[in-house]
């Protein structure tokens, strides 16, 4: 920290929120490039479909997809929320297990040698092979979907948490030990805060994986009121416009989930350097 604590430097003063208008303007400035890219890509897509007269079963035009979404959004959102519930359940189970295993591995080193190879192996299980088994073990309903999503979220979370818990500022651990700090304090006051950025990284990754995982799991069977089943069903009777509308819903939910995690991250770690830097973009 190089700024003095008595007066705010100019740059920070400029960034002082002055009300809703200023916040919206600031938000727009940050996200304008991505919005522009989105509009350009959509226009390009529409142009290509019209120019080359592309058959709808190969690639539907964006305007048709938006029309389909507008006329069917209630059903799509209902199915989307059903799928999202599975994704959330799997996310909760997988990430909690990931954090738990990492903590156990740090605290009791001997268990680390036992658990880590198993965790690595778990990541190598092909979902396509695991899905039918999951249906047999956990049932065709939410159980198998939660299991598959949990499997997908477990490894990134575990490995990131493990890394975070061991990425300590140099000398800090020695300092704590020189104070004869108990393990619990070392964990709560040193390792946990250091691990938080890594954990949130993994949670953000898992949030997008969870939606994908839920939909892939649904490809193997499930209630008809699920997004993955809907996409598969519509695609196989060549109703690609409907399938794409559902894909848009899936993307939206995934993005919202990611943004929600980012928001929680900002609340939990306001002290983190990435939120403090001036002119950080």
């Amino acid at each position: 920290m190089t700024h003095s604590v008595t007066t705010l430097p100019e740059e920070l003063e400029e960034l002082e929120p002055e009300g809703l208008g200023a916040s919206i303007a600031h938000w727009l400035r940050r996200y304008f490039p991505s919005i522009l890219v989105f509009i350009l890509v959509t226009a390009f897509w529409e142009g290509v479909v019209r120019l080359f007269n592309i058959n709808v079963f190969l690639l539907p035009a964006p305007h048709a997809i938006f029309q389909e979404f507008a006329s069917n959004y209630a059903t799509l959102l209902e199915y989307g929320m059903n799928t999202f519930r599975e994704a959330l359940g799997g996310f909760a189970v997988g990430c909690s297990l990931g954090v738990l295993v990492a903590v156990i591995a740090i605290r009791w080193h001997m268990l680390a040698d036992l658990l880590l190879p198993v965790a690595v192996a778990s990541n190598s299980i092909p979902i396509i092979a695991f899905a039918p088994l999951a249906i047999v073990w956990f049932g065709i309903d939410a159980g198998s979907k939660i299991a598959i999503v949990a499997l997908m979220c477990f490894f990134p979370t575990m490995i990131s948490t493990f890394r975070g818990l061991t990425s300590l500022p140099p000398g800090a651990l020695d300092l704590m030990r020189s104070y004869a700090a108990p393990e619990k304090d070392i964990f709560l006051k040193l390792r946990a805060p250091a691990a938080l950025p890594y954990v949130f990284n993994a949670l953000k990754l898992s949030s997008t994986l969870s939606m994908i995982g839920a939909i892939v799991a649904e490809f193997f069977g499930g209630s008809v009121k699920l997004l993955g089943v809907y996409i598969k069903t519509e695609a196989s009777i060549l109703h690609t416009t409907q399938a794409w509308a559902a894909i848009i819903v899936a993307c939206l939910l995934g993005i919202l989930f990611y943004l929600a995690i980012s928001f929680v991250e900002r609340l939990v770690m306001p002290w983190h350097v990435s939120f403090r830097e001036v002119g950080h973009e």
């Binding site: 049932g139 065709i140 069977g221 008809v224 069903t233 196989s236 009777i237 060549l238």
Partner: protein
């Protein structure tokens, strides 16, 4: 220097691995099928057939007795007699024959009529040139001890079907009995195995007479230690309910068919394929051998059951094999319209019987029985695992 040597060796090893991994992928599955065919066509390049026409057929599913007629036509030389060099491509879970044919990767495909109607409406002008299966093989099965006696009892139950274009017969049947698929019944998409049904996770499941039904009957009942029997099941038949839709038919694109040379190929292809199916009616066990040569996943016993059941779908063909019955077409088209497969009524331009009729006439003139009125099905005993 030391460093560089190791980097070079590592890169070379990785490159070798990548090259090795890429090699066998394409040729392996096709090589065994292609070579004997080439040898045969070279042997049989007899009178007038100097240059056989190359033709590709896209199957609807993996190699099994469901497609025995085409394999028989190839193995028994009927395609060679018609001066055709036919490559038969197996299908699978994510292969949509309509897309393959529309994209020009195959000349002919096999699909179910509702999908063809949907594809036509989506702007892909496919056309059915031969309706081989005259009856629907799809059933909805339930355990007798579940208390379900017929479709009306499905209300309030967990009912499974594969979806992906084959659910409309079930939906039409539910509607017939006044059951609302959204509210009165819990619909589940079932995977391509019968575990859900066997584990009683659902009350009723979809089954093809020639495949999944046999899979259930080839499983040992843990309570009795013997195979499950047909008497343990309630089999709901959509043909009897009047809600059946037509299944396996041969199709191509209107564009491909507009060329007179292709029209001739189509007629020859149908003639040889029909001859193959007739061969399988009269020599089912030999056709099972032809199918087993393709390396199917399920063994001889299962394929024999399948061959027999598929024959039941084709024979008797009152108008001759492969000729579309307009009334059955209309039934399928009406159900498709009622259930949102298509949004406009289907026109009879979706099919043509011209080439099938020519093929059947030629076969009749040669003294071949194209109707199978006197055909009787075999009795097939199933064993565990379909061996």
């Amino acid at each position: 220097m030391h460093h560089k040597k190791w980097i070079f060796l590592t890169v070379a090893l990785l490159a070798a691995l990548v090259i090795a991994a890429c090699q066998p992928a394409a040729p392996a599955p096709q090589a065994p099928a292609a070579e004997p065919a080439k040898a045969e066509s070279q042997e049989m390049a007899e009178e007038g057939c100097t240059q056989p026409d190359k033709v590709t057929l896209q199957l609807k599913w993996v190699a099994q007795a469901q497609f025995a007629g085409y394999y028989a036509a190839k193995e028994a030389g009927y395609y060679d007699e018609e001066c055709l060099d036919v490559t038969i491509n197996p299908g699978g879970p994510d292969i949509v024959p309509e897309q393959v044919v529309a994209a020009g990767q195959a000349d002919f495909g096999l699909d179910w009529l509702p999908s063809l109607l949907s594809a036509r409406e989506q702007g892909t002008p496919l056309i059915n040139i031969g309706q081989v299966f005259q009856r629907s093989a799809m059933r909805e099965i339930a355990w007798k001890d579940s208390g379900i006696t017929g479709p009306a009892d499905l209300k309030g139950r967990r009912v499974a079907v594969w979806f992906g274009g084959n659910e409309f017969e079930l939906l039409a049947t539910l509607k017939k009995y006044g059951i609302d698929p959204e509210k009165d019944v819990e619909l589940i998409q079932q995977p391509f195995d019968m575990n859900l049904f066997l584990q009683r996770q659902v009350d009723a499941a979809a089954a093809m007479t020639y495949n999944e039904l046999a899979q259930v009957l080839e499983t040992v009942n843990p309570e009795t230690g013997e195979l499950y029997k047909l008497e343990d099941l309630v089999v709901m038949d959509f043909n009897k309910e009047g809600t059946a839709m037509l299944e396996d038919g041969i199709f191509t694109t209107e564009e491909w068919l507009s060329d007179p040379a292709h029209q001739d190929i189509a007629e020859r292809f149908l003639r040889a394929s029909f001859k193959g199916w007739i061969h399988c009616r009269d020599n089912p066990n030999e056709c099972v051998d032809f199918v087993l040569k393709q390396g199917p996943a399920l063994p001889r016993g299962h394929q024999t059951w399948q061959m027999n059941e598929v024959n039941k779908l084709i024979w008797p063909s009152p108008n001759g094999i492969g000729i579309m019955d307009p009334a059955l077409f209309q039934q399928t088209a009406d159900i498709a319209l009622n259930f949102g497969v298509i949004s406009e009524p289907a026109s009879s331009d979706a099919y043509t019987t011209e080439y099938a009729e020519k093929a059947v006439s030629a076969l009749e003139a040669a003294g071949v029985d194209t109707k199978g009125e006197n055909w009787e099905p075999m009795v097939v005993e199933l064993t565990e695992g379909g061996k």
